[in-house]
Symmetry: C2
Subunit: 406 residues, 2 copies
Amino acid sequence: MLTSWEHRFANRTEGMSGSAIRELLKFSSLPDVISFGGGLPAPDVFPIQKFIEASDTVLKEMGDRALQYGTTEGYQPLRELIAQNAIEYGIPISSDNVLITSGSQQALDLLGKIFINRGDRVLTESPTYLGAIQAWNAYGAKYVTIASDDNGMQTQHLEELIDTHVKFMYVLPNFQNPTGVTLSRERRKQLVEVANRYGVPIIEDDPYGQLRYEGEHLPPVVVMDDELRSNEVPVYRGNVIYTSTFSKILAPGLRLAWVIAPEEVIEKLVQVKQGADLHTSTFTQYIAYEVIREPSWMKNHIQMIREVYRERRDVMLKALEEFMPDGTRWAHPKGGLFLWVSLPKGYDTNKIFPKAIEQKVAYVPGTAFHPNGGGENTMRLNFSYSKPEIIYEGIQRLANVIKQNL
Amino acid sequence: MLTSWEHRFANRTEGMSGSAIRELLKFSSLPDVISFGGGLPAPDVFPIQKFIEASDTVLKEMGDRALQYGTTEGYQPLRELIAQNAIEYGIPISSDNVLITSGSQQALDLLGKIFINRGDRVLTESPTYLGAIQAWNAYGAKYVTIASDDNGMQTQHLEELIDTHVKFMYVLPNFQNPTGVTLSRERRKQLVEVANRYGVPIIEDDPYGQLRYEGEHLPPVVVMDDELRSNEVPVYRGNVIYTSTFSKILAPGLRLAWVIAPEEVIEKLVQVKQGADLHTSTFTQYIAYEVIREPSWMKNHIQMIREVYRERRDVMLKALEEFMPDGTRWAHPKGGLFLWVSLPKGYDTNKIFPKAIEQKVAYVPGTAFHPNGGGENTMRLNFSYSKPEIIYEGIQRLANVIKQNL
């Protein structure tokens, strides 16, 4: 009796997609295709020399520990460095509030695992980050979605949508993936107020916060949440779970990210992480710590990334202006990696995709980012990966494809 | 309204333990404690110089790719190398049958995610690997357990326990964790025959297969399963999902392991892995590949590990013989990292544990490895981590604690 695998798989795997978009993105890596599809950092900004030195130091001076098993919570000096940076941001935490994860995708997965019962409702922006939907679908999440505009999530509609049973709200306040928009200060305030009124936690996903190319830095949602409380509590006991990553400011190949949360939440995350992968690579944690431990180096490094990406964003905006047909609209992102393009209503970016691939240019169709449908006329473009002249050429190709299909 | 976290957590996190054993193991790392508790490789066997050279090569020659995002399936040359080794073992696969995971703990977690619906029954040895129980508890598994003896799982009782609804069987055939015993050739055959008769898949967990210190290598269960079939099928379409790891033959800090399975299973695992952590660190995969790519180096390296661990096992066996009181029994493991000790019935190794810590020696109480209870009079001892003279001293301490409590 040969096993029939399909009927053995658990119910949660039914209708698991991810594959549609994965299939699309495979085309992106064909030769000569200019890909605006992924969310890849520019390899040009990887500090390779610094990594060579750090690897050498770590292996020579502490190789026996860097290659050994580590604690589930993460490498203690790295947790402390993250806590120190958070304190400078205005979040009153200690390293006990920090968990190192295997990329922020794992943070999203573990958060789904500790919070979501099958059928639980989660409130997200629509469009929102595809990886969050993928992670939480596996736990049977349902989505209550809220639209966004040029100032981010339309928090004025929050009270129409929320109730005390919503498991959590998920927001990417800075240079959102996929839209590139930033949640305004007023809306951040409104968000934390509503969340506190209903006792609904917020997951704040902030991979790009440091990559601002213009305008004034806005306080993270977690800081605004903390400001709601009296200052007599010396540790963070708030309502926000914050996550960020080294993928965009250092290198994604390390798979290193972190969660900041009240200790009760960290403890629960540690329990499930132990069952999920024991702990994140000690080797990559030691090396990352060695690379970033000098604040002045890190500051200069991030400044360099900002300059590279600002130029690429500007080139993309200029090319869109120059080549795109009338009726096409796009946002002006103040940071991050992405730019969101809308075609006139009635056009379908999924249908146009194969034609774009024929013309050797790729993007992600906007429907992928809508948990409950919608976005047929939209697409996400990445501007961090390709060099400026390639971006210019790619937008010209894309505009031609669109013109031929308008 | 301040969030009460406890009542927000998902049902699956209720009664999540792991913490009891975690708390115990924290004592193991106190200064001067001789720990037989963990499952740590000896840092003495880490090939640090080789890692220094590999890191340098990888960063200088392909740093832009090694630090970038990678595919969920894993680094292709590493998958091919693993497939090549598997073919030499007699498993007819290609790299499409290989998934790289973030440690074998992740392999167990992802397998739970794709197979286990709440309440599903899984058949395991008892005692069995603690990490598997932790991973599968999160998906609501129930356990049907089968006892083992000096020849491993008592497969003669399989048919009394199995039915077609059992989701899968889990077996560690070589130098089992925690008992150190090896499943005999006859029982391997019986296992695959019963599994095929009932159409119940087998998960074969083989972290220590290469670490045999005496006796003849036995074919993996996956090979014996394949032998049941006609050879006209050129790819593996069998009933066994095999997993192994680089943690014990290279370094656990890399968090690198792999799964070998029919393509349908690999595809499903890839879908859930994408939601769980996108992919395993490209950086550690590139470096591991660079370290192990010369078969002759790897062969010598594993031979060196075998010699180091064989000596440690022999010292532990000798010390047990010399110091342990009458009525204490232990197995003679032919490989791996662990040795299983049984005190006379009625004694409780959980109760003795604090006294052992007072005498500065640690172990893992056997109850931790029993999914459905039992093993109160047993303990697991690790012999790979400590140097021989430390092992000798530690067993003397442990024997004294036991004598005082017999």
